[in-house]
Amino acid sequence: MRECSIELEEKGELSILRLDGSLDAYSFPRLESTLGQLQEGGKHRVILDCAALEYVSSAALGALIGFARRAREKGGDLKLAGLSPKIYNIVELLGFNKILEVCDSVEDADKRFGSGG
């Protein structure tokens, strides 16, 4: 299991955050401050590329829901892309897939933003 690394790619209106490793009580504050900065900078269309994500804690998921809601209020969203089956199962078990938009891939999430998302 790896420490969490976060990489930001800006693509027009979109902010794509590539997560690698595990989002837990130790690493989440770092993502939280990155998301906070995006929000302050008026960037409300965010895709979290979770393809290399190994773990996510419930507190992290809870906070992501908060970010998604605030983004929606500004006409944007925070979408999850490329979840591993392991993590998708957890998200589904908690019913959070009904609140957060979960996409197959970054391209898929990108498209959904395109069509007015």
Partner: protein, 148 residues
């Protein structure tokens, strides 16, 4: 109950060690032949419980200087014939486990204070939970997950 494998860990009261605890959980689960999905549930329950020990039982992380004398977190992981058992021990203040309210994920996302999801996960992701304060080894939370 025949113990087929075990790992005992002792780490400081710091969030940065949660990863090594989860790693050990995943390792023992794989060894025991638990499905990836069940292993992920056990991993998450243990992670939530250990994060709670740091946040609530100890009231936060220790700083470097205090570390050597701080009792830290002890984790006993056991693979028995038909189950995985994980015990987490701390010498912090503990709590009234049975009285603690859990919150369903659905209510959680609608609630203001966002408390109680950890306890929900701990209770619903494993097959048995037992908690005892003030044992000789400190407060002990024992999570059991059946292999089948």
């Amino acid at each position: 109950m025949v113990v087929r494998g075990y790992v005992t860990l002792h780490v400081p009261c710091r969030y940065s060690y949660l990863r090594i605890i989860r790693q050990s959980v995943m390792d023992l689960c794989a060894r025991a032949g638990l499905t990836e999905f069940k292993a992920a549930q056990m991993e998450m329950a243990v992670d939530e419980a250990c994060a709670n020990i740091i946040e609530h039982s100890y009231g936060g992380e220790t700083n470097d200087e205090k570390e050597p004398r701080h009792p830290g977190i002890r984790v006993n992981l056991m693979h028995c014939t038909d189950r995985i058992v994980v015990e987490m021990l701390d010498r912090g203040k503990g709590f009234a486990f049975e009285q603690q309210q859990t919150i369903e994920p659905q209510q959680y996302v609608e609630s203001q204070n966002q408390r109680g999801l950890g306890m929900f996960i701990i209770r619903s992701f494993v097959d048995d939970v037992a908690y005892e304060t003030g044992t000789r080894a400190g407060n002990c939370l024992r999570l059991t997950k059946m292999l089948h």
